[in-house]
Amino acid sequence: MKDALDTAFGGAEPATMLDTSEHPAADGTPGSTAAGTAGSTADDSDLYTRRSFASRLSVADTVFRSVSYSAGGITVAIMLAVGLFLSLRAGDALRVAGFSFLTEPAWSPETQTFGIAAVLSGTITIALVAMCVSVPLALGTSLLISEIVPPRLKATLVTLVDLMAAVPSVVFGLWGAFFLQANVIPVASWISTYFAWIPIFQVTSASGARLTDASAFTSSAFIAGIVVGLMVVPTQTSVMREAFSQAPAGEREAALALGSTRWGMIREVVIPFGRGGIIGGTMLGLGRALGETIAVYMIISPVFVINWEVLKTGTNSVSALIALRYGESSEFGLSALMAAGLVLFVITLAINFTASSVVARSRSGAESEA
C-alpha cells in the first residue's frame, strides 16, 4: 500500500501523504479495521480508475513534432513540385507530339516535328557500352577488395574507391575529351576492321561504304561509354563489395574446410550470396550512366539520327540534348525538353527502384546503406 502510494506519487512528498492513509492503521483502535477498509476503498477507487496511457505532449514536444513534420512536408513538397512541374509542362509538348514523341528522331519543336528516338537510343548505347566497361572492372575490384587483399590494404582501397566516387564528372569529361579521344582511335579502328561482321562494330557511311578514316571514329558512343563507365565503377564497386562482405563466414570456412580453393569458395559461397548486390550495383550504375550529362556533352558530336554503330562518330543523349538546346528554346521548345527530361527521369526512377528493391531483398538484416 505504502509502496504503491509512493510510486503513484513519484515519492515526491511521501510524508504528508502517508500521514493520512497510515494513521488509522497505526492507531490500533477497535474501529481501525473498518476505518482502514473504508480508507483503502476510497483510495482504491482512485487508484484503479483506468489511468490513461496516452502521454500528453509537452509544449516543447508539440513544437518539435510540428517542426519535424513540416520539414518532412517541405521535402516532399519540393520533390513533388519537381515531378509535378515537369509533368505539367511536359504535357503541352506531349499533347502535340503524341505517340510520335517516342519514334521521331529529329528535334525541331519549332516545326512541330520532334521526338526522342535518336537521343534515347544514343543514351542507351552509351549506357550499355559503359556497363560493358564498368561491370567486369567493378566485379573484379570488389572481389579483390573483399576476398583477396590483406586487411590493412583493404581499408585503403575502400577509401580510394569512395574518394573516386566524389571526383567531379567534369574532370572525367576533360580526360575523355583531351586524352582518351586521341588515344582510343587506333583501337576503335582495329575493332571495326576485324569485327565488322558484328553489325554494331561496323563503321559505314550513309551509302554503305566502309570508313577507315580516323575522323570517322572520333566523338563516338564508344568513347563516351568508356568515360561514363569509368565514372560509375566506384558506385558499383562499393555496392558489390558491401554485398560480398556480408557472405557468412561459417559457409566460407565450410567450403574451405571441404578442400575447395579460394576461387571455388568465391564461386560457391560469395557470389551466390552477393548476387543481389551484383544486380543492384549494376543497375544503380546504369541509372547514373543514363543521367550523366557533362562528360558526354564534352565528348560526343550530337546527331539526330538513330546510330547503332557504336564506333562511328556522332551520337546523342537526352541530357546532352537538354544542355545543348535549353538556351535557344522558346516556351514550347522548353516544354519539349521537359518532356524529354521527364522520360529520362521515369527510366532512371524505374531502374533505381528495381535496384534498391533487389539490394534490399538480398540483405538479411534491417540495415541499409546508400
Binding site: G11, P14, A15, L18, D19, E22, H23, L57, S58, V63, S68, Y69, A71, G72, I74, T75, V76, I78, M79, V82, F85, L86, L137, G140, T141, L144, I148, L157, D162, M164, A166, P168, S169, V170, V171, G173, L174, W175, A177, F178, N183, L230, V233, T237, T261, W263, I266, G291, T293, I294, M298, I322, A323, L337, G341, F345, T348, S356, E367, A370
Partner: protein
C-alpha cells in the same frame, strides 16, 4: 595419460581388496592418491627436448608461386616484343599490352600446371585476373586525376591564377594574366546558400523519418529515395523553367544554389537517415526512462551520438554538390567578372568555369581549364579527407578534452543531486519539527526513515 590413471586406479583397487580395509577408506585413498601422483592429474607436457618447427605460413606466397609469376610476366613481355618487333607486322602500344597480358596468362597457367592440378590452375588464374582488374581500375582513376593536375600545372604556379578574375584577360593573353578568383568565390557562395537550406531541412527530415515515423514518414522516405534518381540536368531544367523563366527572368547564383539544393537534399537525407538509424535503441530508452521528452532525447542523445556521422553525410553531399556542372550550366550563367551578389547577375562556379575554358581552342585557355579542374579536385579531395577524419572517430570515442568535459559534467551532476537531497532532507526535518505537537509526529518520522532506507537500498540495484 589416461592409461596411467587406469593403472593407478586398478592398482589402488587391488591393493584395497588385498588389505581388506573398509570400502570408505578405499574411496578416500583413491581420492587423495591421484593428487600426490603427478601422472594422474592434468599437466602441461614437458617441452624440453621437443623439437618445435618454424611456424608455417598459411598466408603469403611460396617461392614457387613467386617464381611462376615473375617468370610468366617476363616471358609474356618478351614474347609480345618478339611478335611486334620481328615476327609479325603488328604495331601500337595498346596492342603490345594486350598481347603481353594474354601470353602472360597462358604462360602462367602452364607454369602453375607443372606442379598442381586443374583446380589450382583455375584458382591462380582467377586471382591474377581479379588483381589485374583492380590494378587497371585504380591506375585509370588515379591517372584521370594526375592527368588533370599535370596538364593544369602550367597555369597553377602563377599566383595571379588565384587572385585575379578573367575580366581583363582575353583568350590570347599569357597565363600570368587573369585567374579564377571569381569562380572560387562563386562556388563558395553557391555552396553556402545550398548548405544553409540543405543542412537544417535535410537533418530535420532525417530526424523526422527516424524519431516520429508513421505513414507520412514512409511516404517522405520513398519520395526522397525516388529523388536520388533525378538526373542532375533535369534538376537544372526544373529550376530554369520554374524559377528563371517564370520569376526572376535572369540567371543568378541563387538559382544555381537552388538547383544544387535539389540535387544535394536527397543525398543528405539518405545518408543522415542511415546514420541516425545506427544510434543504439537503449540510449533512447535510457533517456526516456529518465523522463526526457522526445525533443530533449533527440537534442541531447540522438544528435550528439550521431554527430560525426551527420557531419560526414553533409560533407559528402557538399563534395557532390560542388562538383555538379550540369545544373549550374543551366542556372547560374557565365561571366568573367567577380559577382558577390547571388540575387542578381550571372555568377560562375568552378566546374562551369572549367567547362567554359576548355570550349576555347586557345591552348592558354585550355591550360587554365585544366588548372581550374585541378583546383576543383583539390577542393573536393580536401572535403573528402575532412569527412574521413571526422567520420573516422566513432561516436562513442571522445577526445581528451571531451572526456574531461564529460567527467566534469558528471561530477557537477553528482554534487547537484547530493546537495539537493541534503536540502530536501533538511526541509523535511524542519517540517517534521514544526508539526511535532501533533500526534502524527512519530509516524512521519518513521516513514521518512523507511523512505530513506528504501532509497539507499534501491540505489545500488
Amino acid at each position: 595419460m589416461t592409461i596411467n590413471i587406469d593403472r593407478d586406479q586398478t592398482e589402488v583397487l587391488h591393493g584395497g581388496s588385498a588389505a581388506g580395509v573398509p570400502a570408505s577408506e578405499e574411496v578416500m585413498r583413491q581420492e587423495v592418491a591421484p593428487r600426490s601422483i603427478p601422472n594422474g592429474s592434468t599437466m602441461i607436457p614437458d617441452r624440453d627436448g621437443l623439437e618445435i618447427g618454424p611456424r608455417r605460413k598459411v598466408h603469403g606466397s611460396t617461392l614457387d608461386d613467386r617464381f611462376n609469376l615473375v617468370g610468366a610476366l617476363l616471358a609474356g613481355g618478351a614474347l609480345a616484343s618478339l611478335l611486334f618487333g620481328w615476327f609479325t607486322p603488328m604495331t601500337g602500344g595498346i596492342g603490345w599490352v594486350v598481347i603481353a597480358f594474354l601470353s602472360f596468362l597462358a604462360l602462367y597457367a602452364v607454369l602453375v600446371a607443372l606442379r598442381s592440378d586443374g583446380q589450382q590452375v583455375k584458382d591462380r588464374l582467377i586471382t591474377v585476373l581479379l588483381c589485374s582488374a583492380g590494378i587497371l581500375l585504380f591506375a585509370a582513376l588515379v591517372f584521370v586525376v594526375i592527368y588533370t593536375v599535370v596538364r593544369g600545372s602550367s597555369a597553377l604556379p602563377h599566383l595571379n591564377f588565384f587572385t585575379q578574375t578573367m575580366k581583363l584577360a582575353g583568350p590570347l593573353d599569357p597565363l600570368d594574366m587573369g585567374g579564377v578568383l571569381h569562380a572560387i568565390v562563386g562556388t563558395l557562395i553557391q555552396i553556402s546558400i545550398a548548405l544553409a537550406i540543405t543542412i537544417p531541412l535535410g537533418i530535420t527530415t532525417a530526424v523526422f523519418l527516424n524519431e516520429v515515423g508513421g505513414r507520412f514518414a514512409r511516404l517522405v522516405r520513398t519520395v526522397a529515395d525516388a529523388m536520388t534518381a533525378l538526373p542532375s540536368i533535369v534538376a537544372g531544367l526544373f529550376v530554369y523553367a520554374a524559377v528563371i523563366s517564370l520569376i526572376t527572368h535572369e540567371r543568378s547564383g541563387f538559382a544555381a544554389s537552388l538547383a544544387i539544393t535539389v540535387m544535394m537534399l536527397p543525398i543528405v537525407i539518405r545518408a543522415s537517415d542511415v546514420v541516425l538509424r545506427l544510434v543504439a535503441g537503449n540510449l533512447r530508452e535510457a533517456s526516456y526512462a529518465l523522463g526526457a521528452t522526445r525533443w530533449r532525447m533527440v537534442w541531447h542523445v540522438v544528435l550528439p551520438t550521431a554527430r560525426s556521422g551527420l557531419v560526414t553525410a553533409v560533407i559528402l553531399g557538399t563534395a557532390r554538390g560542388i562538383g555538379e556542372t550540369s545544373p549550374v550550366l543551366l542556372t547560374s550563367g557565365v561571366t568573367a567578372e567577380m559577382n558577390v551578389n547571388p540575387f542578381s547577375g550571372p555568377m560562375i562556379s568552378l566546374p562551369l568555369q572549367v567547362f567554359d575554358f576548355v570550349k576555347s581552342p586557345e591552348p592558354n585557355m585550355v591550360a587554365r581549364g585544366f588548372g581550374t579542374a585541378a583546383v576543383l579536385i583539390v577542393l573536393v579531395l580536401a572535403l573528402f579527407a575532412l569527412a574521413r577524419v571526422i567520420g573516422g572517430q566513432g561516436s562513442t570515442q571522445l577526445s581528451g578534452r571531451q572526456q574531461r568535459a564529460a567527467a566534469g559534467a558528471s561530477a557537477r551532476d553528482i554534487h547537484r543531486i547530493q546537495t539537493k537531497a541534503r536540502d530536501i532532507e533538511a526541509a523535511r526535518r524542519a517540517a517534521a519539527d514544526h508539526t511535532a505537537s501533533t500526534s502524527a509526529h512519530t509516524t512521519a518520522e518513521t516513514s521518512t526513515d523507511t523512505d530513506t532506507d528504501t532509497s539507499t537500498k534501491g540505489t545500488p540495484s
